[in-house]
């Protein structure tokens, strides 16, 4: 990437102040991404991309319009600003629009850069080789990725907002396949490269794959489950998407709508959004340049409220929690750095406490059946096991679940003491393992 943080900060400032409109906001995101992908125990795709995108929101009274471009020369910036203003001229007045936000004090955490140079093509290939060696040595077949992202983000507006930051992250995944019906999985996501141990990652997936051979059928029904952190992360992610955004709240489609201050899940469950956490990868301000902060969403099982941006904060008469997405968007503000508070039980102790149940490594292709009750359906994948008399027993063929997350989180047996970070492309969830007393499996793979 040949742009500096100062470069994109200047572009954002120039773009915002180029506007022919009453006011304007400019967002510049410059990203270099490189991804080494392997399958069949060899690298089959090795890619890199470098781009920078400018988006301008123009304001004429209470009317707004947006235009974007990846051409960052002066002429293109002027043209983009003109297109945004032209869009605003055609928009009807929106009496709910509060105007662009004013500058607020930002707290940008000091983070040591990942050192992108340490993950060039050769280094990523070496890491991939270390991962897949673990499968190849055991007669298994590995597939996965080693990927790095290096992102510069700047937000500027004509009221004086001036926010800019550098973020980076590393993600590695490995699927180890033991014939057509047995597989294991392991992944790393974060910005502390010391936590990325390729051989260990590859070995963990291969061990699950070996353990998964000879999967049995299981009659669908309601079971006690121990969900590994990656499976829990999927559920929290959907909870955030369906329930914790101010738009769903304002429209009446969030489970929070009649539940604020009420118990909605087990009192041991607390869920926050916290981009400032040292464990996560998020940026510390939103796409309006407003500070993100640790925002309680469910605390002690009690529903607290949604995340907001400037528009929905004004509409709902709530504080702006700093969760704006790039304008315009169909989702409204969303939490992008969710975390569930850790409990005090190890995953091993959870398994030891279950007489008969199912252990799930992760889910696959989860989707929404009922948004207001947060009923989801999806499959288990890459390591599903019976738990018998406190021990992992036979592997089980992949199962379909159809289950309300709110109901499941109301039947908590234990919460894991260790949390792991999962996610990709700017959205992350920090999740522990969970023991849930009731989980509805409704089908099984063919």
């Amino acid at each position: 990437m040949n742009r500096s943080l100062d470069d994109i900060r200047c572009i954002a400032d120039r773009a915002a102040h180029t506007t022919p409109a009453d006011a304007a906001e400019a967002v510049v995101v410059s990203r270099y991404s490189a991804l080494t992908r392997f399958a069949g125990n060899r690298i089959h795709q090795n890619v890199a991309e470098d781009d920078a995108q400018l988006s301008i929101r123009a304001v004429l009274g209470s009317r707004t319009g947006v235009a974007s471009t990846n051409k960052l020369d002066d002429e293109s910036i002027v043209r983009c600003a003109g297109a945004a203003a032209e869009a605003a001229r055609h928009a009807p007045h929106d009496s709910d629009f509060p105007g662009l936000p004013q500058p607020r004090q930002l707290s940008i955490p000091s983070r040591t850069p990942l050192l992108l140079d340490a993950y060039g093509p050769s280094e990523r290939a070496e890491a991939a080789q270390e991962i897949l060696d673990q499968s190849a040595a055991r007669g298994l077949v590995a597939a996965g990725t080693v990927a790095v992202n290096d992102t510069l983000t700047a937000v500027s507006n004509t009221h004086g907002v001036d926010a800019a930051t550098h973020t980076d992250d590393l993600r590695a995944t490995v699927l180890s396949m033991n014939g057509p019906h047995a597989s294991g999985w392991s992944s790393y996501y974060g910005r502390d490269a010391r936590g990325f141990l390729p051989a260990q990652l590859g070995s963990h997936a291969a061990t699950i794959a070996e353990r998964s051979e000879g999967a049995i059928e299981l009659t669908p029904g309601t079971y006690t489950v121990v969900l590994a952190p990656e499976a829990v992360a999927d559920l929290i992610d959907f909870l955030g998407y369906l329930g914790f955004g101010a738009k769903a709240f304002a429209e009446g489609s969030s489970f929070l709508i009649d539940a604020q201050g009420s118990r909605v899940v087990d009192p041991r469950i607390s869920i926050y959004d916290d981009a400032l956490s040292p464990a996560t990868v998020g940026i510390s301000f939103d796409y309006e340049g407003q500070p993100r902060r640790r925002t309680p969403l469910i605390e002690g099982g009690i529903a607290i409220g949604p995340v907001t941006d400037s528009y929905f904060a004004a509409l709902l008469g709530r504080d702006n929690t700093g969760h704006a997405l790039p304008a315009p968007n169909a989702y409204g503000p969303l939490p992008l750095n969710l975390e569930m508070a850790a409990g005090d039980t190890s995953t091993d102790d959870m398994i030891a406490s279950v007489e008969r149940g199912v252990y799930v490594t992760r889910f696959h292709y989860v989707n929404v059946e009922d948004p207001m009750r947060v009923v989801l359906t999806g499959m288990t994948r890459d390591g599903t096991f019976m738990i018998e008399n406190g021990r992992l027993a036979e592997p089980v063929r992949n199962l379909r679940f159809t289950q309300s997350v709110l109901s499941a989180f109301s039947s908590v047996g234990a919460i894991g003491s260790q949390r792991q970070l999962y996610g990709s492309e700017g959205s992350a969830v920090l999740a522990p393992s969970l023991l849930l007393e009731r989980w509805a499996f409704t089908g099984q793979t063919g």
Binding site: N2, L35, T36, A39, G40, R42, I43, Q45, N46, V47, A48, E49, D50, D51, A52, Q53, V66, A67, S68, T69, N70, A83, E86, A87, H90, P92, D96, P121, S122, R124, A125, A128, L132, V141, A143, G144, A147, T173, M177, E251, G252, A327, P328, Y365, V366, N367, V368, E369, D370, M372, V375, T377, R381, N398, R400, E425, T442, G443, T445, G446
Partner: protein, 480 residues
């Protein structure tokens, strides 16, 4: 654009590539959306860049940049070669490509009325009018009306000598009404969910949808769903409408017949396939009523093109013939695995991404039935319309779909309305239970512009032709 291609190919060759191709892609888009009486967004944008793909030391490398200066292109070509060489350190077998002709050509998609030339006022007026009509029903609390347009111009060149310029316009529009009450939110949309119908074409395609004319029915049905009967649970005969059949084909036939999935190249993300190469020509995928084609030549489909992103001509091929697996969707590299040449399915999500095997227009070919005769022939069952939820396992076997609306069928007649019907099954058993497909009068191509695949994620614009079809002994009403 052509000078950028030449510069990229020269630089890649000088850096040691034994093969290279390059694509310069310029896109322009515009989107407008109205939600519950408010204009939610008016947005336009543009993007320009180059993607360079190389083979060096027998492996693939790909690099892309928006820096189109001579230095930027040369550096990116060199980076693509360096990536290929790094990949080669783990490769056991050098990449080989099936042969393709050398083409110098241009191709343009259909578009009668340039949507970018239509004023924003006209577009907004149509959306606001439609949204007003949707909101006449009191129980409809949230409404949505949106449209979007994309213009693409791209030039492909390869070191084998092809130089191909293509351009097309896509238009999409749709409406939805959400009835909310008693802890439920029930959507009803037209002409499809997730933003409606997408086609290659211009403003004429938006007008042809008649959004305001359909809004009263959509709103009325959404409101009626609040008091409709729940979906019965158990094994039923179901008739599935064309739009839901399109997604059924997409998930349970389109993806599992992508040869890169079959070969395991997508295993870690989207998964593999329940189908193997030895199954070609022998596997019973479905009943004799199931014939499925892959066709990049259907005018107006967003799955159509002149050439794919490897320079292979767009073409029509059979994937399933009267129930038997007879083909895969292929690339130049993967086609060699089945002893064939590519049937032209490699496409990339813009200049930034490397081409992958993507669906074109993968269609369930029409049968002989009229819809009325099919219902009349059904003694006890349900008819379902419009997707609302989808999920399928990593081998594309166990699926579960939710739909927006359904109706009971009793003694050959459509009866009372059903809310949120869903059904589940396992791919070969399900397609084996297909005993009737409606005829060409009921068949249409449905655009699906949100097909995700690959790492980094790529979103492809694909399509499916489908007509209503009937299936026996299907599990419906899961947890209803």
């Amino acid at each position: 654009m052509k000078e950028h291609i030449a510069a990229a190919l020269d630089a890649a060759t000088l850096a040691g590539a034994t093969y290279a191709d390059a694509r310069v892609v310029e896109t322009r888009h515009e989107r407008l959306s109205v939600r519950t009486g408010h204009v939610e967004g008016i947005e336009s944008g543009e993007s320009l860049g180059i993607g360079i793909r190389t083979i060096a030391d027998g492996a693939w490398g790909f690099a892309a940049t928006s820096d189109l200066t001579p230095g930027g292109i040369v550096n990116t070509a060199r980076q693509a070669v360096a990536l290929a060489r790094a990949a080669a350190t783990t490769a056991s077998t050098p990449v080989s490509l099936s042969p393709v002709g050398c083409f110098t050509d241009t191709w343009t998609g259909p578009c009668s009325i340039d949507p970018f030339a239509v004023s924003l006022d006209d577009k907004l007026a149509l959306l606001l009018l439609t949204d007003d009509v949707l909101r006449v029903e009191e129980k409809v609390r949230v409404t949505s009306a949106s449209m979007g347009f994309i213009a693409v111009r791209k030039v492909f060149g390869s070191t084998e000598g092809s130089l191909i310029e293509q351009s097309y316009v896509e238009s999409q529009a749709g409406i939805a009404a959400f009835a909310i009450g008693d802890g439920e939110m029930l959507p009803r949309s037209y002409p499809n969910n997730l933003g409606g119908q997408a086609v290659q074409g211009g403003w004429e395609a938006i007008l042809a949808l008649d959004l305001p004319g359909n809004a009263p029915r959509v709103a009325e049905q959404a409101a009626a769903l609040l008091t409709a009967a729940p979906c019965p649970a158990g094994e039923k005969t179901i008739i599935i409408d064309g739009s839901q059949m399109a997604l059924q084909v997409h998930e349970s036939i389109g993806h599992p017949t992508e040869l890169d999935r079959v070969l395991g190249d997508e295993a870690a993300f989207a998964g593999t396939s329940w189908v193997g190469i030895p199954d070609l020509g022998t596997l019973r995928y479905g009943s004799e009523h199931v014939t499925v084609t892959s066709d990049a030549t259907i005018p107006g489909s967003i799955g159509s093109f002149g050439y794919d992103d490897e320079g292979v001509p767009g073409q029509r091929d059979h994937l399933i013939t009267s129930g038997t697996l007879t083909g895969f969707q292929t690339s130049r590299e993967s086609a060699l695995e089945i002893g064939r040449t590519s049937n032209g399915c490699m496409r990339a999500d813009g200049w930034q991404r490397q081409p992958l095997i993507r669906m074109t227009t993968v269609s369930l070919e029409p049968g002989d039935w009229t819809f009325d005769d099919l219902v009349a022939d059904t003694e006890d069952g349900i008819y379902v319309e419009t997707n609302n939820s989808w999920s399928i396992d990593d081998k594309r076997l166990n699926f579960q779909f939710g739909c927006e609306i359904g109706w009971e069928i009793k003694n050959g007649t459509l009866g009372r309305m059903i809310k949120s019907p869903n059904y589940t099954g396992v791919t070969p058993r399900f397609w084996g239970s297909c005993d009737a497909v409606c005829n060409r009068d009921h068949w249409q191509v449905w655009g699906i512009p949100n097909c995700g695949k690959g790492e980094p994620m790529q979103v492809a614009h694909v399509a499916h032709g489908a007509a209503p079809a009937r299936f026996r002994n299907v599990q419906v009403g899961v947890t209803r």
